[in-house]
């Protein structure tokens, strides 16, 4: 099971491809679909590989994608930056 997941805000994306290129586990690919501005946003091709490292979120210049760790059951302390 995947350790993490990514959220993509499609309409904010400008299709620069940073997240796709630098995802360490190659979770993402650029979609052939367009958003309303005419850019190709990324989509998740391999959700099971996502580690939730949030490197995509650090690279994204448009704040359009971010990763988060899925807290494992019974260990609420593991994911500390979840709340607030």
């Amino acid at each position: 099971m995947a350790k993490g997941s990514v959220s993509i805000i499609v309409e904010r994306c400008k299709g620069c491809g940073f997240c796709v290129e630098f995802c360490p586990t190659k979770v993402l690919a650029l979609s052939s679909a367009f958003n309303s501005k005419g850019y190709h946003p990324p989509y998740v091709v391999a959700p099971e590989k996502c580690s939730g490292c949030d490197l995509c979120g650090m690279y994204c210049p448009d704040f359009a994608i971010y990763g988060w760790k899925i807290p494992s059951n019974g260990k609420p302390g593991e994911d500390s930056e979840d709340e607030e």
């Binding site: 099971m1 959220s7 400008k14 290129e21 971010y66 607030e84």
Partner: protein
């Protein structure tokens, strides 16, 4: 199942004025990436956000102050450091960050930079260096590499550029680092260190400018620039700053170059005035507004 009931928010959004997003930066511009790193640094350094002020000058990077939901100040061209100096001296409890571009900080604002570094005023200077004046149409800047094309050097730039880390160190900065927008984790760590450090801290961020620099110099788009940084960057922490001049044809030396301690301006001021005036001297920190 461990399915999340709540999907967490993007950690950077708490620092953004969301009504102004999407921003105007081009696709593939690195300024947004540096803002991400800054947001992570703010979270990790655990600074009190009510005591943070961010000052920007004019330019693409100058818009950062407008997008960040902190006490922010968008100032006149080149004068980000003078405004920041005023903020810091009037209220020394503030953590003042100057977030601006290379043209703003080193061309029109060059003098302010060296004097703030000389005095060792407690500021964090974050300079996004895209090698050109981007917002005004791609004119040559003091950081444009030799033989690069710009709108005012159509036959190639023939002026040698500044070596910003060396300039900062020679002027007296206590913390000097350079990263590219490819080095996001290292950049966030450097920003965190600079936020927690007392004294004049300077971080240079080499950033792509796909529209005005890369296009004119046939260097591809933002992603090509990022791959170029990945391929050509060499991390050399503690390297002598005289050896780290940015040259587009050789390796880009990145790392933390200087981390030292010098008495700060407010420290030396209090010391001197207390010595001369004795009891008559009212310390600024005690009368500052909160």
């Amino acid at each position: 199942m461990a399915e999340l009931e709540v999907i967490p928010e993007n950690p950077v959004e708490q620092f953004l004025r969301m009504e102004r997003i999407p921003h105007i930066w081009c696709a593939g511009c690195g300024i947004g990436t540096s803002v991400n790193c800054f947001a992570r640094a703010l979270i990790e350094s655990k600074v009190d956000l009510d005591k943070v002020a961010i000052v920007s000058g004019i330019g693409c990077t100058g818009r950062v102050a407008g997008y960040l939901k902190l006490d922010s100040f968008h100032t006149t061209h080149g004068r980000a450091i003078p405004f920041a100096t005023g903020l810091k001296l009037a209220n020394p409890k503030l953590k003042v960050i100057v977030y601006s571009g290379d043209g703003d900080l080193f061309a029109i604002g060059g003098n302010h930079f060296i004097h703030a570094a000389r005095r060792n005023l407690d500021l964090v200077i974050i300079c996004v260096n895209n090698l050109i004046y981007a917002m005004t149409g791609g004119q040559v800047a003091p950081t444009t590499p030799i033989s690069a094309l710009s709108s005012t050097t159509p036959y190639g730039c023939y002026e040698p550029p500044f070596n910003l880390p060396q300039l900062a160190e020679a002027a007296g900065a206590t913390y000097v680092a350079r990263w590219t927008t490819f080095h996001v984790r290292q950049l966030a760590r450097s920003m965190k260190e600079a936020l927690n450090k007392e004294g004049f801290s300077f971080i240079e961020i080499i950033s792509p400018c796909p529209t005005l620099y890369q296009r004119r110099n046939r260097m591809g788009d933002g992603l090509d620039a990022m791959k170029f940084y990945k391929q050509r960057s060499k991390i050399r922490n503690g390297a002598p700053t005289s050896e780290v001049a940015f040259d587009i044809n050789s390796d880009i030396i990145v790392g933390k170059f200087v981390d030292r301690t010098r008495p700060t301006l407010l420290g030396t001021m209090h010391h001197q005035l207390r010595e001369r005036l004795g009891e008559k001297y009212a310390c600024v920190e005690e009368v500052a507004c909160h």
